[in-house]
Symmetry: C2
Subunit: 439 residues, 2 copies
């Protein structure tokens, strides 16, 4: 009967702003960071080591300390819990955090507290996978539909997705799960790369990286836009010439435009046959996204990395404002809320193309995509999951990508464990790296 005995929360920050990795029109100088939660237990895993759970939410620097503080307040509530009871009722574990009406006032279900809940529940999911000796996508994808539906946070969704409809979706996919697991194991899950497209990169660097990525099997290319229209026209033309007429080209504005500007700006870039415009405006502007979508079609509108909870996804999906559903494993409050959004997206027939990159997002979202394929949507024809080859070296079990696709690894848990050496070096402000910058 193992018990959760203690926890740690580390404020980990990587100095990515030095290389302009991750630079875009809104986020010019992000230091990719993680609120990193470790749950300790008095149990042992299959290898005879201490059973633990590791969870992450992603931020881009300043303020990560605030998320860490919130994560400590939440993680404390898991101390003393029986591990088996917790993992056997992950729906109830998740809901137990919502019982605190005082903390709820700070959102509800958005901002710092929700990011912190994501980190804590991600650690609980990692622990659940390790205890079962399975990747979390498989742990979930092997549950009977009647059990799986109770994992999903369906609160406030019943007007469009009653529990019976959610269950029906899962039941429809259940008989053919095995076929899709076999396909996943043989082929991996479709991915695309943002590696070439950061706004801080020169044209030469962009073209070079597109070529490198093509050799790795990535056929789709995404560019950051929104700094200057002349630059964007030049860069889109260059990228389209480099990849040829048939491969997908996407653009991402990271929220810098208002609605009229988005429509005008994308209009100037439409000549380059774009698959989607990502985050054209405020992530809260559902009706604005719908206006943009109607104006720029057949270019699709993609958004979701800043969509703060399942109720917001319900707005975007029901109103037809979102063509590509970019769930984020650190923004939504763990797989409980992600599963609800996967179900909503299936119900509204919108493909899920998760946001990744950052710190650990690729590691986590490939579980969401595999779960979606096997147990929810049953399709990958329109789906591609983001991949960025950055900071994976800090992970004990990083994702594996080959032929432009996320591969099934079989690692138990959520792939969220980082090396203790990385934590020691990049903890802020007292890790060896940051302490060194003050000398």
């Amino acid at each position: 009967m193992p018990t959760i005995t203690s926890f740690e929360v580390a404020d980990v920050r990587f100095p990515t702003s030095l290389q302009a990795d991750g630079s875009d029109a809104m986020n010019k100088d992000g230091d990719y960071s993680a609120t990193y939660v470790t749950l300790h237990t008095d149990g042992t895993d299959a290898a005879g080591k201490e059973l633990r759970g590791y969870g992450i939410t992603f931020t881009i620097g300043r303020g990560n300390d605030i998320v860490c503080m919130a994560a400590r307040e939440l993680a404390q509530r898991l101390v003393g819990r029986d591990v088996n009871a917790m993992v056997n009722d992950m729906g109830g574990t998740y809901l137990s955090f919502s019982e605190d009406s005082q903390m709820r006032w700070l959102g509800p279900e958005k901002g710092v507290v929700h990011l912190a809940l994501s980190a804590v529940m991600n650690a609980a999911w990692d622990l659940a996978g390790r205890l079962a000796g399975k990747p979390v996508w498989r742990l979930l994808a092997e549950m009977p539909p009647e059990q799986l539906v109770d994992i999903a946070d369906l609160r406030y969704l019943s007007d469009v997705l009653p529990r019976e409809r959610a269950l029906e979706i899962l039941q429809d996919a259940a008989p053919t799960r095995g076929e899709r697991i076999a396909q996943l194991e043989a082929q991996g899950y479709p991915a695309y790369t943002t590696a070439a497209g950061w706004l801080g990169y020169s044209d030469e660097k962009m073209v070079r990286i597109i070529g490198e990525q093509e050799k790795l099997g990535f056929t789709a290319v995404k560019l950051k836009v929104g700094g200057s229209i002349d630059d964007d026209i030049r860069r889109c033309r260059l990228a389209r010439e480099t990849i040829g007429p048939d491969r997908p080209l996407m653009i991402d504005a990271n929220q810098v435009w208002d609605v009229p500007t988005a429509i005008d700006w994308v209009g100037h870039l439409a000549q380059f046959d774009l698959k989607w415009i990502e985050e054209p405006t405020s992530p809260d502007d559902i009706l604005g996204h719908k206006k943009i979508r109607d104006a720029v079609a057949p270019i699709g509108v993609a958004t979701g990395e800043h969509c703060h909870n399942r109720v917001m996804f319900k707005q975007f999906l029901e109103s037809g404002a979102m063509d590509y559903c970019q769930v984020d494993a650190g923004r939504l409050a763990s797989l409980n809320e992600i599963l609800a959004v996967l179900l909503l997206a299936k119900h509204f027939d919108v493909p899920v193309c998760p946001h990744a990159g950052g710190v650990g997002l690729c590691e986590m979202v490939h579980h969401a995509s595999m779960l979606d394929y096997v147990a929810v949507s049953g399709s990958w024809d329109r789906n591609i999951t983001e991949y960025v080859d950055n900071l994976h070296e800090h992970f004990v079990n990083p994702v594996k990508v080959a032929n432009g696709r996320y591969q099934v690894t079989g690692d138990p848990g959520y792939n969220t464990e980082m090396f203790t050496e990385s934590i020691a070096e990049f903890s802020f402000p007292d890790g060896t790296y940051w302490a060194g910058t003050r000398n």
Copy 2:
């Protein structure tokens, strides 16, 4: 040339959960709390005392420490600023906080960081009013429209409210401002009370308080609902019998229902001739509020106290989901964002009826309502601002209510200064009250 020299942030919590004051279906045990920011300067006010600014955001207990931490990170940025330069460009002062793209990731513009920005900017506004020797509503209402429009945060609103339209609204109201200021000074601004309606109160206590409030001139009554339908029917019947057929009766569910439940539940209470149903469901569910509104009309839908920024208000107003616009002076990021919402509400012809109560909200929102009447909507025919007679004794210049209306006080600033004795007693966890509870 006074300068901002330092700041303090206090975590102030009042043990209101002991009396069930403030109890509702979602928030059963709130300890009304304030993130309380003090800006110090090396200048003096008209009375020869140190010129300071005091700002508040309201929470209900646990987690207030997290908001305080975020407020410290933001307030630090004002230290060293020239006071005159700051108050002469409050639009620019406000926008300077949005330049931090790293912190932006934690929202954007929602949750803990946005609450903290509200507290810090509320302190800046209090300072601006004190420096001018005027209440902040009057400081703003006396600005030329061309200056006032630049106070408003109009980012992401241009598709429905271009700057020219916002300016037009302010210009239309400008010639008759003086008449309305005179009316305000003579009559005060219409208010209603929630004093009788807390869910934790007995029937007898509710009826007694309705009677007491009537003697104070309050004609409208609001009841908390959503615990049990039988209780709600009994309490609404009793309240309606007590106030008679002509006075307004409102109900407030504090987000406890999903959409189908809200429609069904309100249907059972419609017989009591309700003016509005407040917060029937998730504050993020714009389309859900619209469905409820369409189903329960002519009962109006009121929401806004958890509406986290002006972009969300744009959704509610443009989609016709909101009949009464309940801006909150601690949820929105100060008068810069409130003014934008006042302009939106005027554009869509929806009355503004601010949320109040809590700690200091009445003190702040009466400025918003007076500004709206004088300089924006120019009307108070459909407006009533919430009033709760609770915790005002901790304020140096509390609001004054007479004949059921907020009175013009003339106090310079934002009425946000609390007594140092109150801070010393109720600071958490080391104030004398809280230290005493641990003995």
